[in-house]
Symmetry: D2
Amino acid sequence: MHPSLKAPHPENEAILAEAVTGWMFSRDQASQSLGMKIVEAGAGYAKLTMRVRAHMTNGHGICHGGLVFSLADSAFAFACNSRNQKTVAAGCTIDFLAPAQVGDELVAEAVEQSLNGRTGIYDVTVTNQNGKRVALFRGRSQRVQGEVMTEEP
Amino acid sequence: MHPSLKAPHPENEAILAEAVTGWMFSRDQASQSLGMKIVEAGAGYAKLTMRVRAHMTNGHGICHGGLVFSLADSAFAFACNSRNQKTVAAGCTIDFLAPAQVGDELVAEAVEQSLNGRTGIYDVTVTNQNGKRVALFRGRSQRVQGEVMTEEP
Amino acid sequence: MHPSLKAPHPENEAILAEAVTGWMFSRDQASQSLGMKIVEAGAGYAKLTMRVRAHMTNGHGICHGGLVFSLADSAFAFACNSRNQKTVAAGCTIDFLAPAQVGDELVAEAVEQSLNGRTGIYDVTVTNQNGKRVALFRGRSQRVQGEVMTEEP
Amino acid sequence: MHPSLKAPHPENEAILAEAVTGWMFSRDQASQSLGMKIVEAGAGYAKLTMRVRAHMTNGHGICHGGLVFSLADSAFAFACNSRNQKTVAAGCTIDFLAPAQVGDELVAEAVEQSLNGRTGIYDVTVTNQNGKRVALFRGRSQRVQGEVMTEEP
């Protein structure tokens, strides 16, 4: 086998990650309708932003925890699918550290902690525009059959 | 002390829970904009529904995990605030058992497992219209100062 | 195919579960050295006890959380291996509700919540001799290759 | 107020952390009986080791997950009590990445991620002697009344 085929070149990995993340995001109606934006994508990595708007608040007047979770979960999804191997979330934990307020610009950064066979662990940190940490998220991924980017029917 | 003051009467607890849940839901723009509906409210208990719509799907074409989480988190929030003592989520875990599809009518049922002082544990089961379990959620609540229902400014 | 081959008979499942649990426990030096005892075993089910002894206490003078976890984890392991398909823990969460004291007789009961393909979710409740809940545990299992009971070398 | 009283001096914090950790460990019969050793202690930080011995194995012949958890939990306990404010574990999650074998020298390193009022989040990484990660642990702490080091009765 040609050496270049044995392991992906880091530069190629980065290009693939950007392509897969863009492909997924263009079909991800939930992330789009919540106003998320991709800041950066890489192999096992993703960074997203989302602005908290009034329709995202809960009965206490702060950002609904489910939408903070959604931002972290999208970053997790892009990171664990970044090698174009179709992967889903098996389970996640989130710890809420500080409330997010209307107008806050949240940033979620997902980093791959482990990838053993078909399962991976990803840590996502959600911070606000002042660098204050809003939530810590940890996701367990499960690779399933198939690739992410497929020819459209 | 008059006996009726020592412990809340179950019937009064139920009336209070319905009032608090209604109060919170009427201010919860996130839950409303996701189309959630309250089916039942009680002391330490809540049952909600949400229909999965196209704008809730992720890049794999199934319901975004963050929105399944949001439904469970709202049920958790209503259950842990049901005694009109202001309570927030400290941390949550979710395990995804089956994907939710567009058109599915999801039901989240939150049950209080424990309430010790200011912290509680609530289990939420999310099922679809066929009774298939979509996710298991467990939330840890933290009571903060103040009541939920307050006079409006 | 003969109908009896299509699905395991409940009685046979129970006999198999008891055999597998006994086989595993006889090799489980950790559970034995902590003084655990099997109360009941079934398909996707296990119930164990453990008495808290002085050497199990931590720096605060109460039972070390890791040993409460160990009891729950053993119950989880017996429950998820009860069909003789080798299965390991992928991840677990535990919430501590009340301290366990020296002399307490703890009971851990593991119940299968879900089994989809190779992954399962098991809830374990740890209570003391007065029925007070000490901890809630949730484990995610991952089936690996092979059977539990094998011929000895 | 004298400036030196406003915030603890880092050097004093480190001395206090070492004293508290030593005090707790000397009373922590569970950690001692499992053969744990303290490598380093600091404010919000602890590093421990534990050798996996035969009596720590489970029915699959590998280190019982509860004892890997126990090592991580002890590191978490020392880190969250390091300021001499009595603190207990509210809840923990653990993800198992690789089995630990008899003879392995495990290292657990606990790092404070957050401390808001009475609750904190600590991440613990457990690695073996080859630097391979065995488990990722996250603990939520709850401060209670009182100090750790007290005069003996």
